[in-house]
Every structure is written in C-alpha cells, then in structure tokens.
C-alpha cells in the first residue's frame, strides 16, 4: 500500500447520524470521519444503510438527526447554502444519471456554465480535459444513449470532476455494469485515488477495496460494525457479522440457506 500524506483535518465528518423512512430506521447512530486524501470504501449487505449514509453526506437524503460536515461546513445547518456546498462534492450514481438530451460535452459543460458561471470557452476546455482524463475524448459529441454502461459511468465521473470537487462520493458505481466493463471504471477511480482525491465509495468490489482503499467500513443494520484498514476488515475481520458477510460475498455458492436477518432495514437497491 502506498503511503499517502493525509491532511489532519477531516474532510468529511458525520456525527450521531440517524435516518428513518417512516417507521423504518435505516441509520442508527453513525459516527465517521474521512480525512483529506483518504479513500474509504463502505461495504455491507444490501439494506445495511450504506447508500443512505452516502446520500446523507451531500444531503440528497435529509438526516433525521445528527450532523454532517464537509470541508468544515455543516450541511445539516438549516441555513446552509446547500447548493454552494454541493459544488464541492462530486457524486457518482449507480445508474449514471447522465442527461440524455445533452451530448457528452454538454453534459460536462452545462453544469459548469449554469452553476459555476464559467464562460463557454472555459467550460469547453475543462470538459475536454476531464473527458481526456477518463479516456473518452473521442465520444465528446456522442449522446449518452449511444455509449456503453462503462463509458456512461466514466462520463458521469468526468462530469463530477469538471466541477472541481474536493470530495467524491461513489454510490455503487459498478453495480449496474456488465462484468467486463467494470474494470475501466475502477481504473478511473484508482487514478483519482492516486491523485489524492478524498473519496467515499459504497461498493461490492472487494478487490478494489483491498487494493485502493485506505480504510474499509463495514456496515450492517444501520450501524458501523467495523472500521479499519482493508487488511484488518477484509483480511481478518473481528466481528462475526463481517466474517459472515465476507464469506457470502467471496463465495456465494457456499453460503448456507438461513433465516432472514432479523431486521432488513433500508430500501435495498
């Protein structure tokens, strides 16, 4: 593992976070800090609340209780300019969510122009640079529908990067992809990690977590069960729930049929 110089101040800080959908308590007291330049992978069974936690970090979900800080700004402050904070937080979705009525270049330049008020030439230049970073310069004038899933996801990453974020959030970025397309997206994410981007990644890609993450967080039932280096959490998990999850994940065929876990929380997606 490459040693990185990590900033001391936490870029993302979550304190006592609770989130309920109606009677369904999805997050029950989350405390988490992610330092500048750190790459943290959040793993856990579906319904464990990991996606909800990620979406709380840029307030796409409104927390029921608790605080979220990004770059020192409290997002949960009712008077915060949430749009201004979100400009510093890039988000990549499982379903890509490119704007289908715009070309690839327009997908990258329209947000810059409308949100950051960059002029046309600057926006186009930044768009081209970021498309090159994800290796898709030749698709600049294509529409998203004509791209493969892996290409769409790389464009989505480039779109987020074009806004110049300090933090990137990834919500299962490879889960909707055909297996042979996963590698390209992970390669881009690896590049970002090497460049020192602060990243919070909800994922099922254990190899990626093991090789790229500085820390792995295992969630189950709306709480953080385990939090440590990849070697600790994936290599030698301390908790039975973590071991159980990892064994099922690494060898799905061997998992014995068992009774439903007591509380299936969250809207698994």
């Amino acid at each position: 593992m490459t040693e990185k110089t990590l900033g001391s101040r936490p870029e993302i800080e979550v304190r006592g976070l609770y989130k309920s959908f109606g009677d369904n308590e999805v997050l029950r007291g989350i405390d988490l800090e992610i330092n500048q330049g750190e790459v943290v992978c959040v793993i856990g069974p579906s319904g464990s609340g990991k996606s909800t936690l990620l979406r709380c970090v840029n307030l796409l979900e409104e927390p029921t209780k608790g605080q979220v800080f990004v770059g020192g700004t409290e997002l949960t402050d009712p008077d915060v300019d949430i749009d201004a904070v979100r400009r510093r937080i890039g988000m990549v979705f499982q379903q890509f969510n490119l704007f289908p009525h715009l070309t690839v270049t327009e997908n990258l330049s329209l947000p810059q122009r409308r949100v950051l008020r960059r002029d046309k030439a600057t926006a186009a230049k930044v768009a081209a640079e970021n498309l090159e970073r994800v290796g898709l310069s030749e698709k600049a004038s294509a529409y998203p529908a004509s791209l493969s899933g892996g290409q769409q996801q790389r464009v989505a990453i480039a779109r987020a990067l074009a806004m110049g974020p300090e933090v990137m959030l990834f919500d299962e970025p490879t889960s909707a992809l055909d297996p042979e397309l996963v590698g390209d997206v992970l390669a881009v994410m690896r590049m970002l990690a090497n460049e020192g981007m602060t990243m919070m990644v909800v994922t099922h890609e254990m190899t990626f977590a093991r090789e790229v993450a500085d820390r792995v967080v295992f969630m189950d039932g709306g709480v953080i069960v385990e939090d440590g280096t990849p070697d600790q959490v994936i290599g030698s998990p301390q908790h039975e729930r973590t071991r159980h999850f990892l064994s099922r994940l690494l060898d799905p065929a061997m998992a014995e049929v068992e009774e439903e876990t007591s509380d299936q929380v969250g809207k698994g997606d």
Binding site: L60, D83, R86, M91, Q95, N97, F99, P100, P111, R114
Partner: protein, 283 residues
C-alpha cells in the same frame, strides 16, 4: 391475393390432416368477409345518396370561387392567429399551473387542482361567453388588451391551460428521479435544475400530446363567433357561415371545412412522426 393456402402438401408433410379450415385460412376468410361488407356499404351509400342535390348545395364552383382569396388571407389567417395566441397563453399558464401542482407548498397544489377541475369541466363555449360578458360587467371600463384577439387568446388559453397543465405535469413526472438528483448533486438549485434539465426532457416526452392540444384549439377557435366579431376578425367557421347565409348555399361550409383539414391533417402527420421519433429515442 397470392396465398396458396393448403395446396402445397410438400411443405407440411407431417401435419396431421385436420378437418375444416386451418387458423390461417379462417383468418383470411374472416378478413375477406369484412372487405365485402365494407365495399357493399360504401356502394349502398353512394347509390342511395342524391348526388345532384348534394353537389348543388355543397359544391357550387362559382360560389367557392367567390370565397377566394379572403378565405385564406382573412379567415384561415385569423383562425391560425387565434389558435397560436391561445396556445401560447395556455402553454405559459399551463406551465405555471403544472409547477404549482408539483410544488411542495400545499396551497399552491390546492389552487392548481381547483383551476384544473373547473376549466377542464366547463365547455369552452361557456368560457367564451364568460369572457365576452362577465368580464366587462365585473370590471367596467377595462378592456382586455388586443380587443377580440386578446379575448380569444385569453379564453382559449384558459381552457387549454387546464389540459396542458396536466400534460406538462405528467411529462415532468416521467423524467426519472435520478435526473433531478444528479442536477442537485452538481449544485443546481431546484428551479435551475427544473429549467435546464427536467423541463427540456419533459417537453420531448409531451410534444405529441401538446401538438394534439394545438389541433383541438384550432377547432375550438370557431367559438370566437360568440364574442361578436367584426368583418375583419372573422375566422373560418364564421366566415363560412356568413357566406352560406348570404348565398343560401352550403358550399362555403364545405370550403371552410377543407381549410381546417388543410392544417390539421399535416399537423397530425407531424405528431405521428414525432411519436415515432420519440419511440426510437427510448430504444
């Protein structure tokens, strides 16, 4: 008819011989019967109708000739003008109402709902009369700007807005939720995301139904005659009726009708083209 039903035994050697007709044969038989009935009905009508009297009443060439060029330069022009202005008012108002209907503010939703229920439930005719009579009574001395043109735009717009609001709302809701989330996560404000990202996509979805609304308005513009119009403000229906009573002949009605079709048929064609294109884009 090139089918060779059942004659080619070599093609189906293993089919067990069934009694009666195969499904396919039954289908072509039933189709054949339908054609025969249809053609017989057309012939019956053609023979029974008194063509001479019809032609006399509806297709007098000299009367039709009298109508030109005013039927185009005046009547059709006014019809188009009324329709387009009503559509524009309806589109703007409909957009506002649709956004109110989707608002998180309760009273806005409620107001929009009331508006839609009222104006969708009332005949357009009553709204024309209301604009023509009630508004001058309620606000004496006020003139709706643009005279008859303004009144028509308002009346047609009020009716159209109710329908268009529902269409636009459906279109906005048909845009996947992830689009708004992606826009918000990039720092778009809700209003800016709506304008830059959601509404352009919604309009692609609702272009065909909106164009249908345009066709409906085109026909509803005939209700102008209940506002009382000057000679210069007449549109197709009024123009046709006036001339029909002057000449005691219905030829102008037929010509006016053809003028409507002159516009609605190409519009319908455009709608189908757009629907086909939209289908393709989804694939």
């Amino acid at each position: 008819m090139t089918d060779t039903t059942g004659n080619d035994v070599r093609l189906q050697p293993k089919q067990p011989k069934k009694k009666g007709l195969t499904r396919r044969q039954k289908r072509s038989l039933s189709r054949g019967i339908q054609y025969v009935v249809f053609v017989a009905a057309v012939i019956a009508f053609a023979v029974a109708a008194d063509w001479d009297r019809l032609a006399n009443q509806f297709a007098q060439e000299d009367i039709a000739e009298q109508m030109f060029p005013e039927v185009i330069t005046l009547a059709l022009k006014n019809t188009v003008l009324y329709t387009v202005s009503g559509f524009a008012v309806g589109l703007v108002l409909g957009m506002v109402i649709a956004l109110m209907r989707l608002s998180s503010v309760g009273p806005y939703r409620w107001l929009a709902g009331v508006y839609i229920e009222i104006f969708r439930g009332l005949p357009a005719l009553l709204i024309f009369i209301f604009i023509g009579v009630a508004v001058p009574l309620a606000f004496p001395g006020t003139e709706i700007p643009g005279g008859t043109y303004g009144k028509v735009a308002l009346a047609l717009g009020l009716v159209a807005a109710a329908y268009m609001a529902e269409t636009i709302r459906a279109g906005i809701q048909a845009v996947p939720k992830g689009q708004m989330e992606a826009a918000r996560s990039l720092g778009f404000s809700p209003a800016r995301a709506m304008i830059s990202i959601i509404i352009p996509q919604a309009f692609r979805i609702i272009l065909p139904p909106l164009t249908n609304e345009l066709v409906l308005l085109f026909k509803d513009s005939s209700l102008v005659l209940f506002l009382g119009v000057t000679l210069e403000e007449r549109e197709l229906s009024k123009f046709g009726r006036d001339l029909a009573s002057q000449t005691a002949n219905s030829t102008p009605i037929l010509v006016a009708g053809l003028c409507y079709l002159l516009v609605t048929i190409p519009l319908g064609f455009v709608v189908r083209r757009m629907e086909a294109k939209a289908q393709e884009a989804v694939k």
